[in-house]
Amino acid sequence: MSTRLQIQDIAKNEDEVLSPVQIDELVPLPPPYDKLEEQPGWKEIKPEIKEQIVCNLDGVVGLSLPQPESEAEKQEYVDKFESGLKKLFTKENNWAFLQPLLLTIDNCVSCQTCNDACPTYTSSGKNDVYRPTYRSEVLRRLVRKYVKPGGKLAAKIKGEDIELNWATITRLYELAYRCTMCRRCAQTCPIGVDNALVTHELRKLFSMELGWAPKELHEKGTVLQLEVGSSTGMNPVVVKDNMEFIDEDMTEETGVEVKSPFDKEGADLLLIHNAGEVLAWPENPGAFAIILNAAGISWTLSSDEIGYDGVNYGLFYDDMQLARIALRHAQTAKKLKVNKIVMGECGHQHKAFMTISDRILTGEMSMSRESCMPLLEEIVFSGKIEFDPSKNDFPVTLHDPCNIVRNLGIVEPQRRILRYLCPQFREMTPHGVDNYCCGGGSGFAIMSPNNFADWRVSVGGRMKFKQILDAFDDQPGPEVKKYLCAPCSNCKGQIRDIFDYYGALDKSGVIYGGLVELIVNAMVDVKEPFIKWEEDY
């Protein structure tokens, strides 16, 4: 960047774009994706739209915040922000993250070590506004000025004065949705400061105090899920019908009788999928059913509202919504008297239900919960199912969902399966707990308003796309069909959009899918190939 962005700039010139994304400065991709003129352009936001919504950060609009009608309305929100800022630092309102937040606010030494770890900052060509430290430093200065005693005077003396105004809060709001909370930055911090947590806390402040949240996460996300049962809009009747269709399809395609049991009281395990799989990737729940039945596992799905959708977008923006959904999931399992709940291939579901909610599931709400990865490993190596790895003899690489790998430390089970069942398995660089986020994390994968989808795939997901291409650089052409294993619904949604955007199937012959599809594809009893290369991915 030619000019350096100062921290206090965030409060200035509220109608101007603070630090625009420069498409020609993005990190180059390998051929045939290296020619800027051959890439799809970005959706233009029309001037009349710009007049209606706030667009003052980077020229991208992910949140469609309406322009206020008056100065008084602006001030009302600024006041609410200040009130929320204070609540963030009270035990009553934020005991859940108070210690990590305070330690992050008080102890960053601005060494900028975290910057280069951030895929967004790196892929953007190092746009200052995307530094993990930029939003954190803004928040830090606001906290010192507006929350700490004597802060206003101290801010002047220290030269850290920053105005809390409409420009500041609207840019911070949008900026809170330019970080996927992958926590790669936190991993590199020598002190243990966590800038992804700052993103989380900012989103929380906006949602829980101002009532500002992306409609995809709130109205169409947690609210819809609590009302109907799923953020997909599917009610219990619809999800059971859909699963029946999937069972029939799978039976026909594989020649193996497929049956997904619902509401089987006393089953050993309750499997909860991300309900998006049922609609977008039905082969995934179908493959789970084939594997679990073949292994003779006592399992069930639930048709209880919320019990059939492991999604919990509260994780990304609102502690209360998180708690409400987690408790409903727990209640479902109690009702069915199962021994454990197993997370399907959904990263944020893993994190929301296995660790983040762990300390709110007390008393009778407490129960055993595990990832599908060790369960699948147990099944694959149990000898109960016969496999022929030569059926998977094509190049395969693995995407590590941040929430399963970096945040939960579930690294090897899925790899042991792939090393056994996929003769041409190769790792990306870097991988495991050092992986790059797909760019769809923290709810981005379902957010596509205005030009946000363009930003999400070409900036947010750029490092991941580059990694995928690099992993197959020995056979880059479309003549060799390749498989990206992405065992997470949100990651798959993002990768689908990246591949569509760049035409990756046509240009590189790469498709994506989950882990269970590869397992079923290698099963001797499944006569026809389960993975369909010709399908439109």
């Binding site: 209360m320 300390r359 430390g409």
Partner: protein, 304 residues
Amino acid sequence: MSGSVLLVLCYALLSLFAVAFVVKCVKIARLPMHLRWELAPVPKEKTRGRYGGSYLEEYEWWKKPREESLVSELTFMGKEIVFLKALWEHKRSLWWFSFPFHMGLYLLIAGAGLLILNGILGMAGVAESGRGVLGAGIPMLAAAGHVLGTIGAFGLLLTRIIDRNLAVMTSRVAYFNLLLVLGVCATGVLAILSVPNFTGGMAGIVGSLLTANASVAAPGMLAVHLLVTLVFLAYLPFSQMMHFVAKYFTYHQIRWDDRPMEAGSQLEKDSQELLGQTVTWGADHIGADGKKNWVDLATEEVKK
């Protein structure tokens, strides 16, 4: 400056340091339990810690004993504390000065420890000749510590000024902090060079402080060094330089705190108490009315 004034000043600034330091540590330690926010790698994980794996990789992990390794954890901590491993791996350009900076401070802390031990042995009547390696160790630590600290602080200061990437994010306070450490170390170097018996002078001051002997003397540059050091210590607990304490909590209580909830545990009791607190978040969907607590508000949906 008279001996008694110097003594009072030393006691005042050291007391401020001690009280503020303890208060700060206790405040952090007494913050409420938080939700799990662990981050791989968790080095205490035996064997799995090498690649960042956790006990959650285990099939039905709750039925298996946790396999933890204190050696792995201590090895990780040792590399991080002594060699600043994270900086070496992720920001080497800064490591070249940050390492001597921190190593210099470690050596000075060790030297100060030996000075206090030396004073205590003196009070106990142990003759100077019987104080073992202290006589040789203190001057070596002091010299090496001050020189390394000076190089490190000066280098970091320069790097922050020259490197535009750092400069734009460096606050006045950060520069002040570096200048202060530079002041401590540089005056230490100057005192070593200008005062004939630096170690003896420092030992005399420490001895006087331990025995409240007002005949303490600090000639020339030694007095300057002493004052700058005391000001630094008094300021330390109020500054971001307390990150060396914070680091314990960010690692042990956040990144590596992966304790699962167990029925009847203290963790469960703490959690239930915290969930009973009144919520005042203002957004409509929260439904807070100034009376309802976390359980009330989170279970309203469950009870539907």
